[in-house]
Every structure is written in structure tokens, then in C-alpha cells.
């Protein structure tokens, strides 16, 4: 969180650059079955974010050293396509995508009933086709829908969303400018049915009151996004 520059992310009437008020979520749309050759898949557009998640498996886990005798392992990969950002990204792994893959796997392993599939692996592929801010949240959310679409048993779906702070004002669901020029970012992974948390990160600067406000925004946004996830899984637009 830099806090540098003089980009005005929110005007005197409390309207943000994309026209939202401080407690609104960007438009969300989810579609399932977008990777026909996969066992389950979902595409999520969230503001300008465009994310495709595909699930393969459960399948034999190899190399054998990654097998677990009592459960399945989740093999999660988060990746940004070279044309997904303003400046082209060179293909290949980097430290950022490794970390996001790791925390995403751990969030999803908290809800998938992995003990039903000992010694196997479930592949979860998250591809960011277009990025706006909050791609890790969109990735986790899309992956949850893809897992459900593949029929993998789970206790709940993870809904992930990030709120934060710009110009000392707490705002829900950060957009690109707010992410770049704002003062705090609080991404969370929420189980909407119980209100429990499986993913949490934060960077920046928040007072105790601001932290609570951002937390509450995330909880409210999770319900909005969860409704769209359920709608997509129940047969989409029909």
C-alpha cells in the first residue's frame, strides 16, 4: 500500500471512480462448464476481472511422494495470462503466484472432504484472463464453484472478497485504483453458511474501528457473491 500520488479515488459525495458507493460490490457474473474437457469449471467476471477455474480429478496422485495415506491432496495453480494486465507478464512461475497458489490450496483444503479420497489428488487450475484487483479473491471464489460443479464433496463453498481503505475511508471490494493508491487491503475467505474464515491476509494500515468496518463489509459482500455462485450452479440464466 503506497498511499502515494494524488489520484482521487472517492469524491466529496462519496462516489468512487467506478460509480459505486463505499459499501457496494462490483458487478459479478458466474458461468459454469466453460472448460468442456474438465470435470468441473467456472468463469467469473467481477468488475474487469475475468477468471477461469477448472477442476480435474480426483485422480491418481503422482509422483508418489505427494500422496497422503488418509486423504486427497489439492494441487492448486494460480496463474496470470500474459495479456491479463496493462504491461505484459512473462509466462512462468513467480514468487507471487506461488504464494497465492499455496494460500488458495490451504483455504480450499479446509472445506473439501479430502478424507474421502485417500492417496489421490484433485487438480485445481486458476487462470486470470483479465485482471483488475482482487484476482486472488476471484480465483478462490471461481475455484469453489468449479469444485462444486465437478461434484467434489465440500462442507461449504469459500467466498473470497477484499475490502480496504482509501483517503482514510473504508470501502468495500477494492477496484484497481483503490488497490494501487489506497492505504489498506483486507482479503478474506468466508464460509457464508457459518460465517467462519478459511483465508485471511492483510497489508496496509487500519485502526481497530476501520478494521472492524472492513471485516463487516467483507461479510456482507460474501452474501451477495454467494447468491450469484448458487444461481450459476443451479442452472444459470434460465
Amino acid at each position: 500500500m503506497g498511499g502515494y500520488g494524488d489520484v482521487q479515488c472517492i469524491d466529496e459525495n462519496g462516489i468512487r471512480l467506478d460509480g459505486r458507493t463505499k459499501d457496494e460490490v462490483r458487478p459479478v457474473h458466474i458461468e459454469t462448464g466453460v472448460v468442456p474437457v474438465a470435470d468441473g469449471s467456472a468463469r467469473m467476471t467481477w468488475g474487469l476481472n475475468d477468471v477461469i477455474a477448472a477442476v480435474y480429478g480426483p485422480m491418481e496422485a503422482h509422483p508418489r511422494k505427494i500422496q497422503r495415506q488418509d486423504r486427497a491432496v489439492l494441487d492448486v495453480r494460480y496463474n496470470m495470462a500474459p495479456f491479463s494486465t496493462t504491461d505484459r507478464i512473462r509466462p512462468g512461475f513467480n514468487r507471487r503466484s506461488r504464494e497465492i497458489s499455496k494460500v488458495t490450496a490451504e483455504a480450499l483444503e479446509s472445506v473439501v472432504l479430502t478424507e474421502l479420497y485417500p492417496r489421490s489428488k484433485i487438480r485445481v487450475e486458476i487462470e486470470i484472463i483479465c485482471a483488475e484487483a482482487g484476482t486472488r479473491c476471484a480465483g478462490i471464489t471461481a475455484a469453489s464453484v468449479a469444485l462444486a460443479h465437478a461434484g467434489i464433496p465440500m462442507t461449504d463453498m469459500v467466498v473470497s472478497v477484499a475490502s480496504g481503505k482509501v483517503h482514510d475511508i473504508v470501502v468495500c471490494d477494492l477496484n484497481k485504483e483503490e488497490d494501487n493508491y489506497g492505504e489498506a487491503d483486507l482479503p478474506m475467505g468466508i464460509l457464508p453458511n457459518s460465517g467462519e474464515i478459511v483465508f485471511l491476509q492483510m497489508d496496509g494500515d487500519l485502526s481497530p474501528d476501520q478494521f472492524q468496518e472492513a471485516w463487516d463489509y467483507n461479510m456482507e459482500a460474501a452474501n451477495v457473491i454467494h447468491a450469484e455462485m448458487v444461481r450459476a450452479l443451479k442452472g444459470g440464466d434460465e
Partner: protein, 263 residues
């Protein structure tokens, strides 16, 4: 790509169908799957396209960078084309550095576009010897149900033809269309059950033999050829598919022009 075991049963089944001049999905020998082409679908790319052929789905995105011209061509910019097939596209595609299969894909598509001369690299020069545009075409597979070659080539040329040079963002003049003079199009034929078929799907690829990729330009000139995988073919077989390729490439070229006009 991990090479899956090819069951003898699949090969035998495809051979039986071929003997009756049939295909497992009911298509004729030279009939392609339905083609969907969508332009400008990636807001962060300067040009983009999405192609769907049956259950094969790919994206192409064009990005620009400023480069120093090569010393032997001081008044020319550059074109770079790379193909990535990540494990999202199918259960046999593995993570890691680019596989030989995906490198071949990128290079064959690159040759067809480059050698057609559709992009005037001298137009891309900003200051001779110092500054020029590098055009980067990234091909990205989302779902591989066979014939990624044709899908990539179609998405690639469509993305280039709809691309805008981002002069303003880089502070080097105004935004302008890239200007792609020609429309090279690729058609691929796969030998399945002893005879060539057009637009093979994944099952036909797995149970087939060699493949041939043909890229033709507007005037039916040949711009790239590639024979892939193990197998032997005759001059007569090649003449037959070359004939087919001429009419099919023209159809696909019309599809691209139609979409660009609709912009």
C-alpha cells in the same frame, strides 16, 4: 504433454469407421466443427480474440512493448508469437517449462503469420536504430479437444487484425490500428484410420498417425507447412488435402472479415 496410452481398441474403432468413410462424431472427412469467433474480449489486451471449435477453446491477446531494433535491421520493429498450453486445458497437459508440443504450436503459427508478410515491420519503427514497437502475440488454450493449431492460428490473426498500437500510453504519438495487410489462415489434416481428415478432435488425435498443417495467404500462396508425428504420406494424399485447404481457408478468411466489419 504426457503421452497417454493409446488403446488398441480406439485405433481399431477409428479404422473400422474409416473403412466405411465415417467419423466417430458423424462428420464428413473434410467437415470442420462449428467455429465461433469473438473479437475484443480481453479489455487489458490491445487486440484480442476467442475461438471455439467444438470443445476446443482458445484466447489470443496482443500486447506491445518498446524495443531496441536489431543491429542488422535498424529500421524495423519485431513480432513475437508464443503459445502456452497450461494444465487448465486438459488432463494430459502438465505444469512446468513449455513442452516441445506447445513450442511447436507457437512456432508453426508464428511462421504462417510472419512469412505471409501481413505485418510491415518497417511501420513499427519509431526512431531508426533506437526505438521500435515489438508486437507480442500470446496464444492461450483454455480447453483442448484437438486441433489447437487451427484454433490458435485463427484467434492469432483475428487478434492482430483488431489490434490498436497504444501510442498514447507509451507517449510516442497517437493510438492507431496495427494495420495487418493480409489474412493467413491455417488448415490442419490428421491421418486417422489410414486417410486424412480435417479438424481432428482429441480422440482422433490420440488414435491417429501423422498430421499436416498448411497456412495459405489471401492469394492462395503457401506460407507455412509442417508435418508432425510419425507417419508416411504420398504426393497424391498431399495434393488432395492441399486442394481442400484452399476452399476451407477461404471460408475461414470470410469469417474473419465478416467479424471485423461488424466491429
Amino acid at each position: 504433454m504426457a503421452i497417454p496410452l493409446v488403446p488398441k481398441l480406439l485405433r481399431a474403432h477409428l479404422a473400422e469407421l474409416a473403412a466405411e468413410d465415417q467419423r466417430h462424431d458423424g462428420r464428413g472427412r473434410f467437415a470442420g466443427r462449428d467455429v465461433e469467433l469473438e473479437l475484443d474480449c480481453l479489455p487489458r489486451a490491445e487486440g484480442s480474440a476467442r475461438v471455439r471449435m467444438g470443445d476446443t477453446i482458445v484466447f489470443a491477446g496482443v500486447k506491445f512493448q518498446i524495443m531496441t531494433p536489431y543491429p542488422d535491421r535498424p529500421n524495423q520493429g519485431g513480432l513475437m508469437c508464443s503459445a502456452e498450453v497450461r494444465p487448465v486445458a486438459g488432463r494430459n497437459w502438465e505444469p512446468g517449462p513449455p513442452s516441445p508440443e506447445s513450442i511447436e504450436l507457437g512456432r508453426v503459427v508464428d511462421r504462417g503469420i510472419r512469412e505471409s508478410g501481413c505485418i510491415n515491420t518497417e511501420d513499427l519503427c519509431l526512431i531508426p536504430g533506437e526505438k521500435a514497437w515489438q508486437v507480442i502475440l500470446d496464444l492461450f488454450a483454455v480447453s483442448d479437444d484437438g486441433n489447437l493449431f487451427d484454433a490458435f492460428a485463427l484467434a492469432g490473426i483475428a487478434a492482430l487484425k483488431s489490434a490498436t498500437v497504444p501510442g498514447e500510453r507509451f507517449g510516442v504519438g497517437e493510438d492507431r490500428p496495427l494495420g495487418v495487410a493480409k489474412t493467413p489462415v491455417m488448415c490442419s489434416y490428421h491421418k486417422v484410420g489410414g486417410r486424412f481428415v480435417y479438424d481432428a478432435d482429441k480422440r482422433e488425435e490420440l488414435g491417429g498417425d501423422e498430421r499436416i498443417h498448411i497456412t495459405l495467404g489471401d492469394d492462395d500462396h503457401v506460407h507455412s507447412l509442417q508435418k508432425g508425428l510419425k507417419g508416411i504420406f504420398t504426393a497424391a494424399e498431399f495434393a488432395e488435402i492441399m486442394d481442400e485447404a484452399r476452399s476451407r481457408c477461404a471460408e475461414l478468411r470470410d469469417l474473419i472479415d465478416e467479424k471485423l466489419e461488424g466491429e
